[in-house]
Amino acid sequence: MKVLVPVKRVIDYNVKVRVKADGSGVDLANVKMSMNPFDEIAVEEAIRLKEKGAVEEIVVVSIGVKQAQETLRTALAMGADRAILVVAADDVHQDIEPLAVAKILAKIVEEEQPGLVIAGKQAIDNDMNATGQMLSALLGWGQATFASEVEIAGDAAKVTREVDGGLQTISVKLPAIITADLRLNEPRYASLPNIMKAKKKPLDEKTAADYGVDVSPRLEVVKTAEPAGRSAGIKVGSVDELVAKLKDAGVV
């Protein structure tokens, strides 16, 4: 079976995000960018399935600016076999919406015919949590989101999902979409020899137009603002003082 893993280039999760003074967005110039953390987990899961013999080939795909190449190289260094870069923007500030991403991915799925797509649950920049579900709708496939455990059993995947009340296990027919949650695995680091080897792995470059997908946004960003700030209060010296303050505030 072939597995497709979409990986997004996003601001590194350790970077302090700054809203641009003119309210036009978030400053991404000269900021450290990395693979979306959930996508590292998705790539890792695909590699583990390959190591178990359930998967033969792992194809990673990224849609966005040309620099997303670096993200794909990282995935190749972790252990993916092949990459497809879909250039859909030339400004790093332009985010391609999940619906357009899902439409491009659906075309790639038609071409590549994977038995499984493993995406991240959520991109930590737009925090949409939508692409996997949208792709699965467009393909008419089943979906198993927020996965914390995946087991391939014949023509189905048994997936444990993190839900509001705890855990839910479902069985989804293949081909299907799985989205990775935090507890699915701990992604490996790429070793130096593997980083070198990754430079020679195939990376195909395409454009959104090659797939005939219109990536113009459905949601017009009117403005981007700083959230309401919260100032530090006071330090209390003892538990007694804390209890007195909480009583004064009327919350206990």
Binding site: A137, Q143, G166, I170, D181, E220, T224, V239
Partner: protein, 308 residues
């Protein structure tokens, strides 16, 4: 304008708080019809009909909807979607699972985690773990959105909407439910609790989480956790508060042994009063805490429990 609001259902019961909060957001958009989908949900449909501001309830009582599987629920909602300008649900795990699927089937974008309604097309939502608030105007014919419950007051009771049966839309059998592992608890639910006591990596073990739970029980509070505490196996996944966990805004949030990473703050910084107990006086959590106590939590938390 007409809104189809998808009620949150747990088992056969209405999740009243989450649904009533979404009703508050939806009322601003138009006439609200609530869809209750599940199996044996007659009581839930009646409960939804009593929420003030609901004008009609559609009850889709069918085994296909018993476990909230996204595919049949999405097909049902799409079969009913004609005539509605907005499809709305509270931002729960089940709605986050289904609404993007519904949006894609309607060829529209989903607008996730709405924290403010500006007008019928324009919404506010947090991005980058709440480090920025984006205002977006939708160009789509139908707006599909999830609303963050922590940002809206629950609509009250006192409604008397009619309840009609909705025809089921079949099940293609793309996925099947196997089992739920849901721990029963007498504590209030995390996202609706007035007080939340949370523990982080500093708590150190699953057993030590007992002192967090004891304080919570003394206060009638829910228990929360940081990602590090969940990853380490000290606490179950459904206790995680944060960017990719639950978002809470209680009257009082007590963070014990939590450093205050931005991803954690994203889930609790709208709490009315924040208390931080941490032995590191430099911990970033103190930058958002109204009352900070620099102390070892193993001394301070039991002492607090005994003195309240």
């Amino acid at each position: 304008m007409a809104v189809l609001l998808i009620a949150e259902v747990n088992g056969a019961d209405l999740a009243l708080d989450a649904t009533a909060k979404a009703v508050s957001a939806a009322k601003a958009l138009g006439d609200v019809t609530v869809l209750v989908a599940g199996s044996g949900i007659g009581g839930a449909a009646d409960a939804a009909a009593k929420i003030a501001g609901v004008s009609k309830v559609l009850s889709a009582d069918d085994a296909a909807y018993a476990h909230g599987l996204a595919e049949p629920l999405a097909d049902l909602v799409v079969s009913l979607a004609g005539g509605y300008s907005h499809i709305v649900a509270p931002s729960t795990a089940s709605a986050k699972n289904a609404l993007p699927r519904i949006a894609a089937l309607l060829d529209v974008m989903v607008i996730s985690d709405v924290t403010g309604v500006v007008d019928a097309d324009t919404f506010e939502r947090p991005i980058y773990a709440g480090n920025a608030i984006q205002t977006v105007k939708s160009k789509d014919a139908t707006k599909v959105l999830t609303v963050r419950t922590a940002s809206f007051e629950a609509a009250g009771e006192g409604g008397s909407a009619s309840v009609e049966a909705a025809a089921a839309a079949g099940d293609k059998g793309l996925s099947a439910w196997v089992e739920d592992k849901v721990a029963a608890s007498d504590r209030p639910e995390l996202t609706s609790a007035k007080i939340v006591v949370s523990g982080g990596r500093g708590v150190g073990s699953e057993e030590s989480f007992g002192i967090i739970a004891a304080l919570a029980d003394k206060l009638g509070a829910a228990v929360g956790a940081s990602r590090a505490a969940v990853d380490s196996g000290f606490a179950p996944n459904d206790w995680q508060v944060g960017q990719t966990g639950k978002v809470v805004a209680p009257e009082l949030y007590i963070a014990c042994g939590i450093s205050g990473a931005i991803q954690h703050l994203a889930g609790m910084k709208d709490s009315k009063i924040i208390v931080a107990i941490n032995k590191d006086e430099e911990a970033p959590i103190f930058q958002v805490a109204d009352f900070g106590l620099v102390a070892d939590l193993f001394d301070a938390v039991p002492e607090l429990t005994s003195k309240l």
